[in-house]
Structures are given as C-alpha cells and as structure tokens.
C-alpha cells in the first residue's frame, strides 16, 4: 500500500464493493439488485488486478460479471413481469438479518484482526506470474500442480450440466 495511486484505487474499489453490496441486498427492484451485484463483482475484479492477479481478475469479469450476471438477468426476465417486483420486507426479519450479519461480521473480524501475522503484512511487490505458468500449474501433477482438481471440476461441471438439463427439461 505504498503508493497513493494504489490507495485511491483501493478506496474506490472498496467503497464500490461496500456500497454495491449493501444496495444489492436492500434495493427493491430485482433487476437493480442484479446490476449492483455486477458492479460489486467488477469492483472485486479491480481488487484482483490491483493485487497483480490479472488472470483471476479476467476470469472474475468473464465468468462472474459476464456469465453469472447475465444468467441472473435471464432468470429475472423469465420470472418477472416488468415493474411488479417490489418486495416488501417485514421489519422483524430485517432486524434478525442485520443482527445475524453483524454478529457474523464481528466474529470474523475479531478472528481476523486478532491474527497477528495479518496486521503487519504488507503488499509486497509480488512476482508477476504469467499466464503460461498458470496454465502449466493447472495441468501439472507435481506439487502446486492442479491437474486433479482440474479434472475433477470438469466432472463437476459435467454433472451440473446434466443436472441442469434434467431440471430444466419440461417433462
């Protein structure tokens, strides 16, 4: 966090994340909610870029922002008639929600910030992994190789495809 530029970028991204997250779960229009989600995800991608994980940032944008949000939008379109998606919330539930969320955040925060190693950590200028290394690692079987998870996730995706097909088929 040495440069002011970084600070500014960080601040923008952080504020975007926080604001968009809050808005995403409080807005009354479902489509807006999806939009705020998109911005939150993009802001997250900014974080990744800032941390020099460009590949991850790209994936974040492509898969999350590009894929999932579109999926959401499709789903919303399929299930909502425009203009009729205001959802009233009971206050009772809201306080419960806030309570749970705050409690969770507090516990995690206590846990994280009591962790000494973390407080003194600095963003070191990391070795910039290029895309080739990442690609190799994904197909490597040695230490820090990810061939098996890679294969496994392919099976997972296959399963999800079949599952999706099963569910979505009309009969």
């Amino acid at each position: 966090m040495d440069s002011v530029g970084n600070m500014i970028i960080y601040a923008i991204a952080a504020i975007a994340i926080i604001a968009c997250s809050i808005l995403a779960v409080t807005t009354k229009k479902i489509l807006r909610s999806a939009t705020y989600l998109l911005f939150a995800l993009l802001a997250t991608a900014m974080f990744y870029f800032q941390m020099d994980y460009e590949f991850l940032g790209a994936v974040q944008i492509a898969v999350y922002a590009g894929g999932i949000v579109v999926l959401f939008v499709f789903a919303i379109m399929l299930t909502h008639k425009p203009g009729k998606d205001a959802e009233p919330l009971t206050s009772h539930k809201r306080w419960l929600g806030i309570g749970a969320a705050v409690a969770g955040a507090v516990v995690c925060a206590v846990a994280l910030f009591s962790y000494g190693k973390f407080c003194c950590a600095k963003l070191l200028p990391g070795a910039n992994f290029d895309i080739k290394e990442i690609g190799t690692a994904l197909l490597d079987t040695d230490k820090f190789g990810y061939l098996l998870p890679f294969e496994a996730i392919s099976i997972l995706l296959l399963a999800c495809i079949i599952g999706g097909v099963v569910i979505a088929r009309r009969r």
């Binding site: 490597d140 079987t141 098996l148 998870p149 399963a159 079949i162």
Partner: protein, 487 residues
C-alpha cells in the same frame, strides 16, 4: 507430469468407466432398449462393486493431494455396497411412468455424485475436498427435483440447493481462514502449521469448517433442510442422501478434523463436537418423536444417527474410526432396509404415513419383518447389527477416557431410549395396531426383493460375523498414522 499417478485411483476410474458406459447406453441405444437401462446400470455397478473389493495400492498421488489407503479403499467399498443397494431399490421406480424419460440422467447423476464422494474420502487437499463436496451435493439438488409431478420435489430441491450454497460459502470462509493461517491447502502441511491453540482465527476456521461439513452430515443446528428435503425428494434419492452422502461426509470429516485440526483437538473441536453431538442426537430425536410421515420421520432419525456417527469421530482414535466406518456400514443396511420398504409401499399405494402402516404385518409379513429389523437395528437392539455398531461407537468415544465424554455418552444413551420409542411406534403400527384400510398385499419387484433381502441379511449378519469389524479395524490400524500427526 506423471499421468501414471491416475493409476492409484482405480476405484474412481472404474466408477467413471461405469458412468461412461451408462452415458453411452443412455445416449446411443435405441428407445426399446432404454427400459433395460436401470438393470444394465445396476448389473454394471454390481460388477464394479465386486471389482472395487480388490485391494488397491496404498499411497499418495498428485503431490499429496490424493490418498489411497486401506481405509479409503474400505470406505469406498462400503459406499459402493450402499450405492448398489440404492440402485437395486430404484430399478422399478426408475422405470415408472413419470421418471422413465429421465432415468438415464438419474443414474448418471448418482454415479457422478458418488465420484464426488470418493474424492471427498480420498482428498488430502482442501481444494480437492471442496470440489468433491460440491460434486457430491450439486447434482443431488437436481436429483431431489426429479419427480417433477410432485410439488414437494421442487420445494425439496430448492431448499437443498440454497442451503447447499450457503453452506459452501460458510465452508469456504472457514477454508479461507485456514489458508490465512497456514498458507497451504495440503492436509499434511496444514497439520504442522496449525498449532497455535489460542488463535481466534483458528477457532473460527474450525467452527466454519464444521458448520460447512455439518451441512452434509445434517448435524444440528445445520440440519434444518434435512427433513424437508428427505420428505420431498424421491425415495430413492432420500435413501441415497441419508446414507451414502452422510457416510462419505463423515469419513472426510474425520480425516479433516483429525489430520488438519488434530493439534487443537482437546482445546477446540472436541468441545464443539460435544455440543453438536448432544444437540444433534437430542433435537433429532425430539423431532422424530412427533412425525407421522415415514420419510420425514427417517430424516429426523437420520439426524440423530448422524450424532452417533459423530461419536466415532469425537474420540479421535483408531477404535473410533473403525467404529465409525462400521457404523456407517450398518447404518447403510438398516436405513436402506427401511427405505426399501417405504419405496415399495409408496410406489404402489402412495402411502407414507405411519398410520397407513397399521396392520401391515397381516397383509405383508415380509415387508413388515424387514421394516421391523431395520427399525430394531437403527434403535440398536441386538442381535441386529445396529446394536454392535452403537456399542462400538460408544466404546470408541469412551476410549478417550475423560469424564466429560462419559456424560456425553450417557446423554447419547438416554437418547437411545427416545429413539427406541419412535422406532417402536413404527413396529407398533405394523404389528399391533389394526386398521380397516390396511395396505393390501403387495407384490415387490425382484430387484426390490433382492435389495430387501440383502439389507435383511446385512442387518442380521454384519453384527454377528465379527470379521467385518475386525477387518475394518485392521484397515484403520494401517491408517493410524492419521492420529499421530496432530496429536
């Protein structure tokens, strides 16, 4: 790059081969052959199960990401047996009117989830474990939604799905904390890195991991989805969820707790598990007492059974591990026995409440008999296997020897009485109560019969024949290194 490492996982590969064959059959065979698909799959899987009994080479692969040991081998064999039983019971159902069009997918998904479970069992890396877990749970949502003509099926799927994603978020949170603490996902590395007993982060990590896996095991308070899903999902899926999915999760859970968090056993997770076990057993029982729907009833009973399974883990010793695996095996037979009967009756009469079973013994003595021994086994009544498995998990837990665990076991034992009460309610309905509209005499399909006979034999003989337990103990002994890492 050493692709020969894949050879260390013959069971997984075999499973994938089965999957592929089924997939090909489903895709390319003409329609008139499709009706034989369930039988084909079952037969194939039966062959594969036999194959999976052959011992495998022990060892690590993929830089310690994947472990194949006697214990994982045995565990997978146990899961295979359970899977085979589930398949046997579902043949008739899969060919039924509303399901027949999707039977191929049904089997494919089942096989893929089983693959996920194998990964969970063998994973020695958080990443692989996570992928395995997700592979094991996501397709199940699709399976839960399988009976599209039933509204409950959809509700069950939605509930399952949402809870599953939520739990995976919690699990990921826990894993991220673990990663933050140790900088690795490898169990072995983690075990040595996580030794600070007073780290709040570690405690939070343990809690969240337990919560995440607790979802699969349906431990209280992470269990609330269970009953609704079990009730809504097709019976074949429910039985699968209640035994196979639970069994694999329990084993993986044991490995994670012991190997990764072994160093903080006494300070941290022992007490967490105490609380969870007491809650799980008690709440599960209390809910089960009131149930009239048998599937829902078995859901709550399976929650409380999960508590007993956890007793095998809480001791964190070889005896406990053996007992846990044994418990799972017995539980597979007992629970599947019960589900087999439910499935037969539900398929033909659509009746699933206890009151519908009044006087079942008069009309369907063998169904009633199977159900009864299943109930007795679940309740832990000798000479049925459930008695032995319960005794052994208690022994495994008590082996740790501290006083608190005696209290824990005492509470568990008192709960066995409540559980006995509701299991007896089923027996009472079948044998003692009379009703005007008793279920008529039913004819079971050969596959259902085979399944039930296998279950009954298992329930009767697994306990009496000690070699299974002894064998599992030998297997666990070989993995006893697991318990030395952390502690």
């Amino acid at each position: 790059m050493d692709y020969s490492q894949f050879l260390i996982m013959p069971q997984e590969i075999g499973l994938l081969v089965v999957f592929l064959l089924v997939f090909i059959y489903d895709t390319f065979m003409p329609d008139r052959c499709q009706k034989a698909l369930p039988t084909f799959t079952t037969a194939l899987f039966g062959l594969y199960t036999v194959f999976s009994f052959f011992p495998v080479h022990s060892g690590m692969a993929f830089a310690g990401m994947f472990e194949s040991s006697d214990a994982t081998w045995a565990m997978k064999a146990i899961l295979n047996v359970g899977m085979l039983l589930v398949l046997l019971q579902s043949i008739k159902w899969a060919n039924s009117e509303f399901v027949a069009v999707r039977r191929g997918e049904f089997y494919e998904l089942l096989l893929l989830t089983l693959f996920g479970m194998f990964l969970m069992v063998s994973a020695r890396n958080m990443l692989l474990f996570y992928i395995g877990l997700e592979t094991a749970s996501l397709p199940l949502a699709a399976l839960a939604a399988f009976e599209k003509h039933h509204y409950e099926s959809h509700e069950a799927a939605a509930k399952y799905m949402f809870t599953a994603i939520f739990s995976s978020a919690i699990l990921l949170l826990g894993m991220s904390f673990v990663y933050g603490l140790a900088g690795s996902f490898d169990y072995m590395t983690l075990a040595s890195a996580l030794s600070d007993k007073h780290s709040a982060l570690l405690i939070a990590a343990v809690a969240f991991v337990i919560a995440g896996v607790g979802f699969k095991l349906s431990l209280v308070p992470f269990h609330l989805w269970t009953a609704d899903v079990y009730q809504g999902a097709p019976t074949a899926v429910t039985s699968y969820l209640s035994v196979i999915s639970k069994g694999s999760a329990a084993f993986a859970f044991l490995v994670i707790l012991v190997q990764v968090f072994g160093t903080v056993y006494a300070e941290v997770w022992k007490w967490m598990l105490y609380a969870i076990i007491i809650l799980t057993i008690t709440i599960g029982n209390l809910f089960a007492v009131r149930q009239r729907n048998l599937k829902r009833f078995l859901a709550f009973s399976s929650i409380s059974q999960a508590g007993y399974i956890m007793l095998g883990i809480v001791g964190a010793n070889v005896l406990g591990m053996t007992s846990m695996m044994y418990y799972i095996l017995v539980y597979i037979f007992s629970n599947l026995g019960a589900f087999a009967v439910i499935a037969v009756i539900e398929r033909q009469t659509d009746k699933v409440t206890i009151d519908d079973y009044n006087g079942l013994f008069k009309t369907n003595p063998w169904l009633a008999f199977t159900m009864m021994i299943a109930m007795f086994s679940l309740a832990g009544i000798p000479p049925f296997a459930g008695f032995f498995s319960k005794f052994f998990v208690f022994a495994g837990a008590l082996k740790t020897g501290d006083t608190a665990i005696y209290i824990l076991v005492l509470i568990a034992l008192i709960n066995t009485i409540i559980s006995l009460y509701y299991y007896l309610l089923v027996v009472k309905a079948m044998f003692i109560r009379q009703d005007e509209c008793t279920i008529p005499t039913l004819k079971s399909h050969w596959s259902e019969k085979t399944g039930m006979i296998l279950c009954a034999l298992g329930i009767i003989f697994i306990g009496l024949v000690s070699c299974i337990y002894t064998f599992l103990n030998g297997v666990s002994e070989n993995s006893s290194a697991l318990f030395n890492i952390g502690m």
